[in-house]
């Protein structure tokens, strides 16, 4: 590894998480690019590691994942504080002393509590830290000053759409002090501005990526679907939450059946809303037509996408939606709502259809159109595939991230010209 490369720490709540596979991928790809990347999480459990066998078996990568020490119960945290202090003073004396000195001026004795929570980060002595979700960044911008490092904050949807809606100043320190913001798309940027982010704030818009080599298939388009012999196959992929608007999807399926389009609807994912959805399925007379299939692995999801004629995404609130990207990459036409970044994700009329959110009839109309026209399904599938390749390739996303880190660290006086060059070289190599 090139010693000159800056050290970047990604911060997440929990790692690895199956529904946040994009974090795993990003972490892995940055590492593949030769970057000195680390990941710090607060929670981690063995069962989720087993879902990512190659990640778990790769020693190099696994050593780069760091788990914070427990902060509950408090008594344990208090007992561990001296050990954490000693450890930090031995491993990174300069950074630790600076953190405590500057921190004491700012927070007084409270700095020891913060020190304990931040000690994992202090040990890593990073050049840049990247909060992968806005919600965990709020209130922690002092780290830039105390650790003398740059800060990136990603906003992915939930953080802007839901977190602390009633608190007008929740993200104030992020807007003021983060060095650069990363957002998935224009919609989230607009939402950030609505929540007080100034227009001139440095930002990059980098959409999620899809592995177009993994998500691909030779799709055979069946004509004459929508009969009992061959029902129209509708698929949704996403956690079972009210935000995904599955009730409107179910109502759309009910409408299709009423209009004589025989269909079969599968939903991949699990969540608390299963009870509500099972009730809706029964109330709408859809028992036997709708299958809640629970959590599926990436391979199984690919198979479901091969099975399907259309991907339906009925969300009421959405960041960008990886499943919709994957569907396009799999040459699967998409019917989705206009929630969040979805209109940026697909191209209405080309790779699928965008309809207003909370409109079962709107969804049903477009589904019916696709059910009746195999030629349209083929065309939209093809255009989806092209779009995924031209706009959402993983390699391109990595180059954008590397360019962002380069831009972030370029102005840093600690970063020599040599370092900047090697980082640039790494980004161009990809």
């Amino acid at each position: 590894m090139n010693k000159n490369l800056p050290k970047i720490v990604l911060i997440v709540q929990e790692f690895p998480v199956i529904s946040e596979t994009f974090i795993v991928n990003k972490f892995r790809r940055l590492n593949d690019c030769g970057l000195d990347v680390h990941l710090l999480c607060i929670r981690s459990n063995a069962t989720s590691w087993s879902k990512f066998p190659d990640l778990a078996s790769g020693r190099e990568l696994r050593n780069r994942v760091h788990l914070s020490w427990p902060h509950r119960p408090r008594l344990l945290a208090l007992a561990l504080l001296p050990i954490a202090l000693l450890r930090a003073l031995v491993i990174t004396p300069k950074t630790t002393v600076r953190y405590l000195k500057r921190g004491y001026k700012k927070f007084g004795m409270d700095i020891f509590r913060r020190f304990y929570l931040d000690s994992g980060l202090i040990l890593l002595d990073a050049d840049a830290i990247h909060f992968e979700f806005g919600s965990i960044a709020a209130g922690r911008m002092y780290l830039g000053e105390l650790l003398d490092c740059k800060i990136v904050v990603s906003f992915r949807g939930y953080d802007l759409n839901f977190v602390a809606l009633e608190d007008a100043h929740f993200y104030r320190d992020v807007w003021e002090k983060a060095d650069i913001l990363h957002l998935l798309g224009k919609d989230l940027w607009e939402r950030a501005k609505k929540r007080g982010c100034p227009d001139f704030k440095p930002k990059v818009l980098i959409p999620p990526a899809v592995d177009t080599n993994l998500f691909k298939c030779e799709r055979e388009i069946t004509a004459g679907v929508g009969s009992l012999a061959r029902p129209f196959r509708i698929l949704s992929v996403g956690r079972l939450e009210w935000k995904k608007g599955y009730e409107y999807a179910l109502q759309a399926v009910e409408l299709l059946l009423e209009r004589g389009v025989e269909c079969e609807y599968r939903v991949v994912g699990q969540g608390d809303y299963l009870e509500a959805l099972s009730f809706a399925r029964h109330q709408l007379g859809l028992d036997g037509k709708v299958d809640f299939r629970g959590v599926r692995s990436q391979d199984e999801i690919r198979n479901e996408m091969i099975w399907a004629d259309v991907l339906l995404h009925s969300a009421i609130s959405e960041g960008f939606c990886n499943a919709v990207l994957e569907a396009q990459s799999m040459s699967l036409p998409v019917v989705c709502t206009d929630a969040g970044g979805l209109p940026e994700n697909i191209v209405h009329g080309s790779t699928g259809f965008v309809v207003p959110r909370r409109s079962a009839a709107g969804l049903a109309d477009q589904l019916e159109l696709l059910a009746c026209e195999p030629g349209l399904r083929r065309k939209m599938g093809k255009e989806g595939r092209q779009r995924a390749i031209s706009r959402f390739k993983a390699e391109d996303q990595m180059a954008q991230f590397l360019a962002m880190y380069e831009r972030l660290l370029r102005t840093d006086e600690h970063l020599s010209g040599e370092m900047a060059e090697s980082l640039l070289a790494a980004s161009q190599m990809k």
């Binding site: 759409n161 839901f162 809606l165 009633e166 009210w242 935000k243 009730e247 109502q251 809303y273 299963l274 009870e275 509500a276 099972s278 009730f279 809706a280 399925r281 029964h282 109330q283 709408l284 809640f292 009421i316 609130s317 959110r357 909370r358």
Partner: protein, 406 residues
């Protein structure tokens, strides 16, 4: 209330928390007034205003919580304080506990059952299906058991694939119960699907106190259209459909205000949807309100809206009717047993914001209609949903059940 020997009936309520829901509190008061002895089995000690009453008793039934050590000690202490005449009960419970897996679960089962060992009542009453299911061994004590079917525990929970075994458990409780109270005809039919025999079922609809909930003397005339709903912020209430219809009304130029009383897990969902539909100036989330606060808002309102996807029968609607305001309700559960479409208000299909919009618009345009329907609602509550009647029906249910088991 006394049995044929002139002794007062002893009833125990199991599976409640204290303070109880308003309708349970009303029932307890009514039963005591009618001469019964009521024991409440719960963790929290009832307020001092209740305890001195000679016909009111509290049985401490602790909740399974605290550190594991504390739970073990508590269980052991309860075991030692079982009276000697409780040894038969202990044997009965033991055969039940043996069937549970895992030592923690066994201790938990003992923890649940021990407070009842060696005690007897004329009636064991479970106000919820879920309580009856978790206290199944109490059915073996020899006292007749009555349980209540109220709503979501029959309409929703059994459909949840994550709750396997619930259907069988419901069946078992219905089979072993001496009588089953249903809050509406609709709930009774639902219970029949899980094996409730019609002879055991008794429909007693909820009640309101028409002396407490009453129409305002004169209503302030404003240019605003006040729509109100009360209920937990949770998905079975279908609030999202209500918000869409309010948004529709606003888009049609109606100066509407929507009051939502209640709190719950879906608060964030509500906040999001209100913002998403640009309803910040139109909708107000009041949170939890006292009974007086509810009454005050109802009296100020033009219409009460119930957008539920599932109900047993809504008490909130009855309270609104008592306050003399017209109702727009979805057609779910037993709602049509309280509201006749076109008489006390309008009944619209579930999950249909447009239908709600249409009904509200009709009421907005016609103040005369609002008055007429409000009046009809008040009359219907006085006639069919009064508290006095309800307590009478319950006392006779208890009495008959106790007598039949002798």
């Amino acid at each position: 209330m006394t049995d044929k020997n002139g002794k007062s009936l002893r009833i125990v309520l199991v599976g409640i928390s204290w303070p109880p829901e308003t309708f349970i509190e009303g029932l307890i008061k009514g039963l005591i007034e009618a001469g019964s002895e009521v024991t409440v089995a719960c963790d929290e000690k009832p307020a001092a205003s209740w305890l001195p009453h000679p016909q009111f008793h509290w049985l401490h039934a602790p909740v399974w919580r605290g550190s594991m050590a504390a739970r073990l000690v508590r269980t052991a202490r309860m075991r030692t304080s079982v009276p000697s005449k409780g040894s038969n009960d202990i044997r009965r419970f033991k055969s039940h506990v043996r069937r549970t897996d895992g030592w923690r679960e066994r201790v938990q089962a003992w923890h649940l059952l021990l407070p009842f060992a060696g005690l007897r009542w004329d009636i064991i009453y479970f106000p919820w299906n879920s309580a009856a299911i978790s206290y199944l061994p109490l059915f073996e004590l020899g006292s007749p058991v009555i349980l209540s079917c109220r709503g979501s525990q029959l309409n929703i929970a059994p459909l949840d694939p994550m709750r396997s075994g619930l259907k069988e458990a419901l069946q078992e409780t219905f089979q072993k119960a001496a009588a089953v109270h249903c809050v509406s005809e609709a709930i009774m039919h639902q219970a029949a699907k899980y094996g409730l025999e019609p002879e055991k079922a008794r429909v007693i609809r909820p009640a309101v106190d028409p002396q407490f909930f009453y129409p305002p003397a004169d209503k302030l005339q404003t240019d605003q259209f006040w729509v109100t709903t009360t209920g937990t912020l949770t998905w079975p209430k279908g609030h999202e459909y209500a918000l869409q219809s309010i948004s529709n009304l606003r888009d049609r130029g109606i100066n509407v205000r929507f009051n939502i009383l209640g709190d719950g897990p879906d608060r964030q969902r509500m906040l999001y949807t209100i913002r998403d539909l640009n309803l910040e100036k139109v909708v107000r989330l009041h949170g939890l309100k006292s009974q007086e606060g509810v009454r005050e808002l109802l009296q100020k309102s033009d219409v009460f809206l119930l957008s539920s996807l599932s109900e047993g029968i809504s008490n909130a609607v009855l309270e609104a009717m008592a306050c003399g305001i017209p109702i727009v309700t979805t057609d779910c559960g037993g709602m049509t047993e309280a509201v006749t479409d076109g008489v006390e208000g309008f009944v619209v299909p579930v999950r249909n914001a447009d239908a709600i919009t249409g009904a509200l618009k009709m009421l907005w345009e016609d103040p005369q209609l609002r008055r007429r329907m409000g009046k009809a609602g008040r009359q219907r509550v006085e006639k069919s949903f009064s508290l006095v009647q309800q307590v009478d029906q319950f006392t006779s249910l208890y009495k008959q059940t106790a007598q039949a088991s002798h």
